[in-house]
Subunit: 196 residues, 2 copies
DNA sequence: CAGCTGACAGATTTCAAACTTTGTCAGCTG
DNA sequence: CAGCTGACAAAGTTTGAAATCTGTCAGCTG
């Protein structure tokens, strides 16, 4: 349909994302993506070896966009425990907001990520590293006293799975979800805090 | 097939459980259950108003059997933090063991519980109450210092969802899962502990 | 007459044939 | 001659007609 510039991975991903949004993960085909770009589906296969690789690349882009704004370097104000809470609430707000405001898109996103194990592992590692950074800062100021901030970072991510993992999306309808996150955070933050 | 004593709810549930185990949740029908009992399917409807009610009753029985052995009154030895760890590891072992040793049955169990929201809510409340009991005991001995043991009990259950919620079964294949639970427990137990 | 049966309507599921999609590659085209 | 096309085989999905299932109830039976 589009008159066509050079066929880049970038342009294919834009089209694939759009097709996925519009048709959903079950009905979106490589032929649809090619049609949206005004090329034959064989051309798409010159850039991505399989449909799965294409989907993984779309998932990777989505997850990267999601993790970018969470970077702890963007919010260094106040005690580490508060930064930790803000980070957790921001992550939860991103996921829960998407689930609430556009359930179809969220379902597409969830399914893509559920199938892209390796991509998700990298994303989880990135999030854990962000938490590790906040915790390490807290150790630096004496607020926290953990031996290994990176183990603790991963543990905090695991302990809050209920509030950000798409598998739990059905539970986010409960209005208590926000205060439940705070209760878990309270225990974790106290657990991280220095023994005097 | 069975010559038939009185047709009780108990016997119907036994048969339904057996049929579900053998055929799986997708293929098990009320007619199959009736056939296993040697009665017409109409008779089953005299005891359970709908198929959903029958499935819910099976799910309730499974969950009750699961929660029984966890009762904190059965394990009152040692510090509360250790009791908490044992309780969490026992719960995880029950679920993870079932998922590993009989994946088909576990899938059946997961699907039934996923559909039986109310039954699961009651089960969650029961587990949270068991955790509350352990925490309240810890507060009694001065080991723990939380204002509201029942809020804390629920928070501990939520924080460990990754290790016992069937949604996360795919992640249990990772051999690190055991040490990850301990790391989360460590933070939670320290978080519960008295500020001096 | 309490409890079960079996025929029934409407909803749901199955199954196989028709169609669509994936992934490849020989050859066209600018 | 780099990059695209389109025909193709194998795999997977749709479709709709037939079969099965759910839930009800009038009437049978011990």
């Amino acid at each position: 349909m589009t008159p066509a510039a050079v066929l880049t991975e970038e342009r294919i991903l834009d089209a694939a994302e759009d097709v996925l949004r519009r048709f959903g993960p079950a009905k979106a085909t490589v032929v649809d993506v090619a049609k949206a770009l005004g090329v034959s589906h064989g051309s798409v296969y010159r850039h991505f070896p399989t449909k799965v690789a294409l989907r993984d690349a779309v998932a990777r882009r989505w997850l990267d966009r999601l993790a970018g704004p969470l970077d702890p370097a963007r919010d260094t104000e106040g005690p580490a425990a508060e930064r930790l809470l803000r980070w957790l609430e921001r992550l939860a707000a991103i996921k829960q907001g998407m689930a609430l405001s556009d359930p179809e898109l969220f379902a597409t996103f969830s399914q893509l990520t559920a199938e892209a194990r390796e991509v998700v592992d990298a994303h989880v590692a990135r999030l854990a590293a962000q938490l590790t950074e906040i915790i390490a800062d807290g150790v630096g100021t004496g607020e926290f006293a953990v031996e290994d901030p990176s183990t603790a970072g991963l543990a905090v991510l695991h302990a809050t799975a209920r509030f950000h993992h798409p598998l739990h999306a059905a539970e986010w309808a409960d209005p208590a979800i926000g205060s439940e996150l705070r209760e878990v955070w309270r225990l974790l933050a106290q657990g991280l805090a220095a023994r005097p």
